[in-house]
């Protein structure tokens, strides 16, 4: 597949760009943050996103989705990045939908995917247990009990964990703490006995929760995929999430960059526009190149996922590494070039810087992805 959008994808892009700019601009994030909103996003917006078909963009048509795949999902998340829009899109429509699509039985898919696509059901993925991403490091235990299992452990920083209607929990049914084998995924009702949920306030005003599992009883029917075979499902979900985060980081970078270039054209200093300073021109031109590179590798990662390309994990790692670094550079340069005003809370650019760092960190930063690139390329 060529590295250009097809007509369908271009339509998705246009509608997503328009939708988020109009319905969920940065002002909405600011309002939710200042009001310390308990939900952390606008449920009305989420309903509209479902109506637009965004919540089910990557879910197959047979399960109520649009079946448009990851390139389309990435375009939506890029628009989210440009506007810093808040919603459970990543956790429910990307991570959880991918995990269920990849690992779920026909019954589970039929029961859950249409509800995710319609926005009625928010599902969150509770995988990581470490502050730095180490997807195979899982200590949460799942011990056989009755016709099912009892789960005990803790999951910090679960995205949208505080509003989820269902949790996908990665727990260990066998193996040592860092083995990839022996990990099993479970569908858990957050209202079940033994589940505790504490909301976390994050630098980027995103929503996360620390989830405690104290002998939570689950049924055999709540197992997602094979027992002990959860890691492959998890990796598929994480790669979908990483590719979409790359797209979001691309949106964050592009928006910060454009805002900065505009500022360079209108801000006067020492009697001239600051955009006339060659040192700033060269830095801006370099950043332009970096963002174009980030755009190419992100599109390739999303395309490779859609094509089932065996090298998809490599392209995803490359994209996440590149966009993470580029977004940090773009937002840092934005703040520096804006000077004092860029440091004030009143100005929006700080929100972009915060989100850039958090998204770059989520599911593996450039160091993690670089190591993964080296492993996948066998060195």
């Amino acid at each position: 597949m060529a590295l250009v959008l097809n007509d369908e994808q271009r339509m998705v892009k246009e509608s997503a760009d328009g939708f988020f700019a109009e319905n969920a601009p940065v002002a909405q994030l600011r309002k939710l943050r200042d009001g310390a909103d308990a939900t952390g996003f606008d449920r009305g917006l989420w309903a509209k996103m479902a109506e637009m078909g965004f919540a089910g963009v990557a879910i197959p048509e047979q399960f109520g989705g649009a079946g448009l795949g990851m390139v389309a999902a990435g375009l939506i998340q890029e628009a989210i990045g440009r506007n810093l829009s808040l919603s459970p899109f990543l956790s429910s429509a990307v991570l959880s939908a991918t995990a269920i699509g990849k690992g779920g039985s026909e019954e589970q898919k039929a029961a859950l995917l249409p509800q995710i696509a319609s926005g009625e059901l928010i599902v969150a993925l509770a995988a990581d247990e470490k502050a730095r991403h180490q997807p195979a490091t899982i200590s949460t235990r799942a011990e056989a009990s009755g016709n099912g299992f009892r789960l005990t452990g803790g999951k910090p920083f679960v995205l949208d964990g505080h509003v989820a209607d269902r949790l996908i929990v990665a727990a260990r049914t066998s193996g040592a703490e860092t083995d990839t084998a022996g990990i099993t995924l479970f569908l858990v009702d957050p209202k079940a006995a033994g589940v505790s949920i504490a909301r976390r306030s994050m630098v980027d005003s995103r929503n996360a929760a620390d989830i405690g599992l104290d002998g939570v009883q689950v049924d055999g029917a709540d197992v997602l995929g094979e027992i002990g075979g959860g890691f492959a499902i998890l990796e598929a979900a994480l790669d979908a999430g990483r590719a979409c985060l790359a797209a979001e980081l691309l949106g964050v970078s592009a928006q910060s960059f454009e805002t900065t270039v505009d500022y360079l054209k209108q801000r006067d200093q020492f009697g001239v526009k600051i955009g006339t300073f060659q040192a700033l021109q060269h830095r801006a031109a370099h950043l332009f190149c970096e963002i174009e590179l980030a755009r190419s590798v992100t599109l390739k990662a999303l395309t490779a996922l859609d094509e089932g390309d065996a090298r998809a994990p490599l392209f995803v790692a490359l994209a996440k590494a590149k966009t993470g670094d580029v977004a940090k550079l773009a937002t840092n340069e934005a703040v520096q070039m804006h000077g004092g005003i860029g440091m004030t809370d009143e100005f929006d650019i700080g929100f972009y810087m915060k989100r850039a760092r958090a998204a770059a960190e989520t599911f593996g930063d450039a160091a993690f992805q670089g190591d993964r690139v080296a492993q996948l390329l066998d060195y």
């Binding site: 990581d128 502050a131 730095r132 940090k328 440091m343 810087m353 760092r357 190591d371």
Partner: protein, 396 residues
């Protein structure tokens, strides 16, 4: 190195005096801003010990050891002051007084003030009676400080000040302000500026705090609405205030540049704890280990440069051109340090508020550090200065 008998005697006396007079509570590094003593009319001491310590030190003039005794200083020589500092460090004594008056206005007053101004202001600074803030930057001026528009028009024997200042640290807590104003609106921009001192309680002065991306900050915007300032409060020559400003900016650069040196939270400790080490003691994340090592190379090289600059200055070999280097490199290095700490701590570091040990402090430090390369002359301005003054490149 042998100390002269005189200096040895001074050291012994000083040690004894400190032992007798420094309260126990003052013998530990404070936990940051909250444990500092800033003084001033509105100051509430955090403890009896803090009050005692300030009063005792001020009585000896040791809040400003090298200032002349007639202005409330200790009248110490460079060598004596160094011994006092060493002896204070020995018992980990806190600084008795933090003050822009001491750090910034005082040196400028000693150099540019008239006798009446020195007599009036220096002792009050030394005793922590008056707290000062700095009125330099203006909204919209940014790096182009000299484009300031706050006006001071002589009306009889008073200046009438109108305008606004931004980034005035602690303006809401300060008693007086030292302030750059434009007295000659028609002169070339660097020549129409004067340096005024006035009381923040004067009618027409108001302040409003600035919230930063890192949260609440000591910065304020300050507004002047027909503030009347006695003409004798002009410091230095009318229209020559820019010289004083440049003198003070060099001071400020050096203070801010200090931040890149190793110190504060040990990155290595944080890294060992957060990332863990393998059987050989190596950090478990090889890529981050590389970043920490590369940071250490630059961080040590920078700290040693500060040391060398000080040693050269002592030996009379200083070139005087290094303050821009220290400001530029130190602040860029501190930003890198904070970035790296964030990478090391992962989602822990991303917490904003809450029950975590760090309580958002890491993220706030990270965000706050982004301003280091903007305030006190941006990195770009420092590079311009180096290109012009040190390298003497054409058109710089």
């Amino acid at each position: 190195m042998d100390e002269t008998a005189e200096l040895a005697a001074f050291r012994a006396e000083t040690r004894a005096w400190l032992e007798a007079n420094c309260p126990d509570e003052m013998r530990s590094p404070g936990a940051g801003d909250d444990d500092m003593c800033w003084g001033g009319r509105k100051w509430t001491f955090k403890s009896e010990a803090q009050k005692q310590w300030l009063e005792r030190m001020a009585a000896k003039g040791w809040t400003v050891p090298e200032w002349p005794q007639e202005y409330g200083g200790g009248g110490l020589s460079k060598d004596e002051a160094k011994i006092l500092a060493q002896e204070m460090r020995r018992i980990r004594a806190r600084s008795p007084l933090s003050s822009f008056g001491i750090w910034m206005l005082g040196p400028a007053l000693l150099k540019y003030g008239n006798e009446a101004q020195k007599k009036e202001h220096l002792p009050k600074i030394a005793r922590g009676e008056i707290r000062w803030c700095q009125g330099y930057s203006e909204p919209g001026a940014g790096s182009d400080l000299a484009s300031l528009r706050t006006s001071a028009v002589l009306d009889g024997d008073e200046f009438v000040v109108n305008g606004s200042k931004i980034w005035t640290s602690y303006a809401d807590k300060a008693d007086w302000i030292f302030c750059l104003v434009r007295t000659e609106p028609d002169a070339p921009k660097h020549l129409g500026i004067s340096f005024l001192l006035f009381d923040m309680d004067s009618p027409g002065v108001s302040t409003s705090p600035i919230k930063l991306i890192s949260g609440y900050s000591p910065f304020c915007q300050t507004f002047f609405d027909n503030v009347r300032v006695p003409a004798e409060n002009l410091m230095g020559t009318r229209g020559k205030g820019w010289d004083i400003a440049k003198y003070l900016l060099t001071h400020e650069r050096e203070m801010i540049g200090d931040m890149g040196s190793p110190g504060g939270v040990s990155m290595r400790d944080v890294a060992r704890q957060e990332i863990g080490t393998d059987a050989d003691g190596r950090l478990n994340d090889p890529l981050l280990r590389v970043d920490v090592a590369r940071f250490d190379v630059d961080s040590y090289a920078f700290a040693l440069t500060m040391e060398r600059v000080k040693d050269e200055a002592k030996a009379g070999q200083g070139t005087g051109a290094m303050s821009s280097l220290l400001k530029y490199y130190g602040t860029e290095l501190n930003k890198r340090r904070q970035e790296l700490l964030m990478s090391i701590t992962g989602s822990d570091g991303l917490s904003w508020e809450g029950e975590g040990i760090r309580d958002g402090a890491l993220a706030k430090d990270w965000l706050r550090s982004r301003a280091n390369s903007i305030e006190g002359g941006t990195s770009e301005v420092q590079l311009n200065i180096i290109a012009k003054r040190v390298l003497q490149l054409p058109g710089a």
